[in-house]
Amino acid sequence: MSSGVGATEPLLRLTGVVKTFPGVRALDGVDFEVTAGEVHCLLGQNGAGKSTLIKVLSGVHRPDAGEIVWSGEPVSFNSPQAAMRAGIATIYQELDLVDELTVAENVFLGHEHSSVGFVHRGPARRETRQILARLGHPEIPVGRVVGKLPAAGKQIVSMGRALSRQARLLIMDEPSAVLAHDEVANLFRVIRELTSGGMAVIYISHRLEEIRQIGDRVTVLKDGRTSAANLPARTTPTRELVGKMTGRSIEYVFPARTAAPPVAATSGGARPAGPGDGVPGPAGTNTPLLEVDGLTRHGEFADVSLTVHSGEIVGIAGLVGSGRSELLETVYGARKAHAGRVLVGGRPLRPGSVSAAVRAGVGMAPEERKSQALLMGEPIYRNVTLATFARLARVGFTDAGRERAEASRVTASLQLAPADVRRQVRTLSGGNQQKVVVGRWLLGGTRLLLLDEPTRGVDVGARAELYGVVRRLADEGVGVLLVSSEVPEVLGLSDRVLVMREGRLIHEAAAADLDEHTVLDLVMAGSLQASEELP
């Protein structure tokens, strides 16, 4: 749209915005501007700082440094309400509507028409009808309970709420993630309607084709900084966009791959016997350690087949919502497959049974450390032995001394900072908590380790140590299946990479044969188009 900066005064301008959390600098000098009437797209990898930026704009976080100028005046929002009053409305991925209230009640939630505490339903309904008509959806009944609307309808209600508050800037965080294809087209129509009326929209999406369709300008974030600002959305080549997203300022420290060449992309190829291959497993080693055959869960992933060999690290790259975490949990038995089977060491696992998987030597470090893996108020050693305390016990009586000894051995090998295993897990840093989760599976003869986002919320130092641990385990013969939204992590750590998109595996290659551009393209666009543009 307006390429001439300064021709029109931007509605919103950020200069040098910094936001630090303990251990991470989430925003490290972000420059960003939006003019009235444009759709400005924000692009960046996971962890680039997009979410933090939104939260700063919507008043959830206060920046540590930098300036925010809103319609010509420097501002500082100290609460979401303040940002809302100023005219900034945010539609989060998980829509913040009350399912039990009606459409009209949701639209006017928090600023109801009322006198002495009594709500006037008439005006609210009338105005809601007008707003919905403006959004091109007069067919949504204002008296309907929101919980009964489809996802697309809820999104319209959220936008209606923004309109009812006279918002001038609408922030949309991956709005298309919950929508079907034709609903996305509809959403775009509504967005154009709004911008033609002078509203500004910040649009966040991982899907490049959408950005081309709806966006006017693009700003790319990388490692908490603006790596490119105000690129034209329709004409900037994909190669350039992806290039601005990648190319890191700090190199990830990955351990060297094992001397023995990893199993090639051709599945079924046996790994040559490497050092420390004497793992329990069928002799001959032609049988893969893990064999997944046509695994399907309706609505999550379909017809997934893959293998992991002993001593091999296989990485799955994919966006949030591509079905990767669900796949991992299904392999582990935490979800029950609708079709297909899982074999470990050539023997089928009972579907939907975690204990069967654990008995077969499978361990998992789940995505959400706090809610899925740890007892925060319990000591370190009891968290390390959570899957093995029964095996360390004698006829039902736990052996705390032995548990502490085993846990100490594990934490020492993981270089866990506080040596005292009686400390509560609550007191540990994210990196050390993750070491506790991984350490759980160093006990009790785990043969196959499933890692879901193993370095989320982990600082750089602990991250390198975790990579070292995973590689060492593989060298000792453990098979590893890794899921991560961070492409460099998947590429750097794995021997072999699988790309997952919309519930299907769409590509498989040796990690050495892939680069970040190619994988990002596959993950986001599902094609090799951009890398073919490369010389």
Binding site: V24, A26, G47, K55, Q372, A387, G431, G457, V460
Partner: protein, 345 residues
Amino acid sequence: MIDVATSRPAPSTVERSGWWRSDGSEPVRRNLGLVGVLALLLIVGMVTRPDIFLNGHRLWSNELTVMTQASSIGVITIGMTFVMISGGIDLSVGALLALASVWSTTVATQSYGPGVMILAALLVGTGSGLLNGILIAYGRMVPFIATLATMVAARGLAQKISGKLTQIVRVNTINKIAEWKPLGIPLLVIIFLVVAVLAWVLLNRTTFGRRTVAVGGNAEAARLAGINLRRHTLMVYALSGLCCGIAAVMVTAQATAGSSDHGNLYELNAIAAAIIGGTALTGGRGTVVGSVLGVLVFTQIYNLFIVKNLQTEYQLIAQGVIIVAAVLIQQFRVAALRRPAPPGA
């Protein structure tokens, strides 16, 4: 500068600490506090009724009375403690006690003698607890609703079986349970203490206890570590039912009769005592020693009301106040623990 791994900030490692709150010893401190409260109550007794509380012989016999009164509700509270640590609640305990007491004192059961009577009480209690567990673990009912339903149904069944009549115990051995005082200590008190010691071992030294804490502390983490959630839930409620069966024998012996009115409001007293003893309503936290002390604090307060000849209505009011105070204190402590959360996580 620093490579940002994720959109979420790393959790804060800042730890709030102080002399009043250190990691491992928090339950110990709390239990010492309860001992302090007990001492305080004795001092109140000494001031208000010096004739009892400053006379060694009368004090001893008064405190034995307190312990005897605490014994049956104490056994129930111990079962409740396991249920609450596992993240559940059992509202049916009082009704299960009544049902077990009535069942074991029917004319037919009494004709088989004391052994069968005790066995019947234990089996009825455990069986009803199993039913609770099946409803909750396999029927996926909320514990509050499931045990509320069994509470009403068990009380009704007890009335049906007894015909709302008190069933006099004619088997002398049973009545002797409440009279016998080996070494001068009532057998009921000894039963309570034995159950408490066994429960302490079960909670702190066995895989069963470890699973209970894990399931209540983080059910999803326990499940993903390979613990069979449903089976364990079932067993925890069965254990609570067994405690009801034991308490039923004790109450029946004390009253020398079985009655569908036994155990009235025991669920409330047991939950209150467990909370005072430091058991978290949210699960994952609690101690046997704390629950025992909680029961003793409660009973000692009752005792003070009785020796001061105050009416029962004051007791009920005081009970309500104590429960509210205990829950408020617990919530403030939990809030204090959570305060150092990372910004905007």
